[in-house]
């Protein structure tokens, strides 16, 4: 029997899926090269069988579900954002369309009168709040800090 004839039988024999015939067995007994290949194949087979993954961590399923929930939350947030932007753009288009439909010069004149009125009102409000301006600035600062902390907390990845 020739070496090339047994070459294709080495892996099935090593895996225990093929019983070698007396001829094949005889060849392995007399051919050191093929015997070494069979021995290596058997060691390889044993190593592959023995080499099993470690136990799955207990928290694995919970961790997957946690990531899935975060993914869903992100997707919903993106949908909300897109919806809000779409609403804002739609409003701008509607306002623009209304302005284009009415007499623009009339609108400009009316808005000019409204501006004068608003300026007078603004001046009066400014005079009233001037003595307490420090309090308003401190309150605005606190509000901005709180909003900043909220924004930062939302961005922290949690596991």
């Amino acid at each position: 029997m020739m070496c090339r004839e047994v070459a294709d039988l080495i892996e099935p024999i090593a895996a225990g899926e093929l019983e070698p015939t007396p001829d094949v067995r005889g060849h392995f007994e007399t051919c050191p090269s093929c015997a070494l290949m069979l021995a290596t194949a058997r060691r390889l087979e044993a190593a592959l069988v023995a080499h099993q993954p470690p136990p799955i961590p207990d928290r694995f399923v919970a961790a997957v579900l946690h990531r899935v929930r975060r993914e869903r939350w992100r997707m919903e947030r993106n949908v909300d954002l897109i919806f809000n932007v779409a609403i804002f753009v739609a409003l701008l288009i509607v306002v623009g369309g209304v302005l284009a439909l009415v007499d623009v010069s009339g609108v400009v004149s009316a808005s000019s009168d409204a501006w004068v009125g608003l300026s007078a009102m603004g001046t009066q409000v400014a005079r009233q709040i001037a003595p307490a301006i420090n309090t308003y600035i401190a309150a605005a600062g606190l509000l901005l800090t709180a909003l900043g902390m909220w924004w930062w907390a939302e961005r922290i990845p949690y596991h």
């Binding site: 895996a15 190593a47 993954p53 470690p54 799955i56 899935v68």
Partner: protein, 172 residues
């Protein structure tokens, strides 16, 4: 945990049912985790990559048409996730020849063989690597593998023998 058949399970997962998706993860966690563990070159990343696989399954379920078996589709996702990870972290994977162990260092030689085996497996073509990874997980036999990969049992055996021969040549 509820016991759904596969089609019902998929449908329930598509509606955002967390219990159903938890059941899907329970069913396939051993397959996914074991495959990832065998296919990745960085074992410390097994947990993260296996989670990535399930996240991709979650994202892809709405587009899964059920033409192939769920396990076939999962095999492909595992294979893709590990291949992407490998392409990100190319490593030196040369396999050195097997040294015949002496009687006094058999245990050490077996550990050494495992290490070289990992490196040799990393050098196999992708389809051989997936077959080796799947077949040597406890529960996946030829028939199940053929069904999962949608190829004949004979082809599975032939490819596995070729893969092992290639491994042996790399190690010898």
């Amino acid at each position: 945990m509820a016991d759904f058949d596969e089609a019902t399970l998929i449908e329930r997962c598509r509606t955002g049912d967390d219990i159903a998706f938890g059941e899907l993860v329970e069913r396939y966690k051993h397959l996914v985790y074991g495959m990832v563990w065998r296919l990745t070159t960085d074992r410390s990343r097994t947990d993260d990559l296996a989670q990535d696989v399930f996240l991709k399954i979650y994202r892809g379920l709405p587009y899964f048409r059920g033409e192939a078996r769920l396990s076939t589709w999962i095999f492909r996702i595992v294979s893709n996730v590990c291949a992407q990870d490998r392409s990100h972290r190319r490593e030196e994977t040369s396999a050195s020849p097997v040294r015949e162990p002496g009687r006094d260092d058999v245990a050490f030689a077996e550990l050494e063989l495992r290490d070289r085996l990992d490196k040799a497996i990393a050098q196999l073509p992708e389809n051989y690597r997936v077959l080796i990874a799947a077949h040597y997980l406890h529960e996946v036999q030829y028939e199940a593998l053929a069904e999962a990969l949608d190829i004949p049992v004979g082809t599975v055996k032939t490819h596995l023998y070729r893969a092992k021969r290639r491994l042996r040549e790399l190690l010898q």
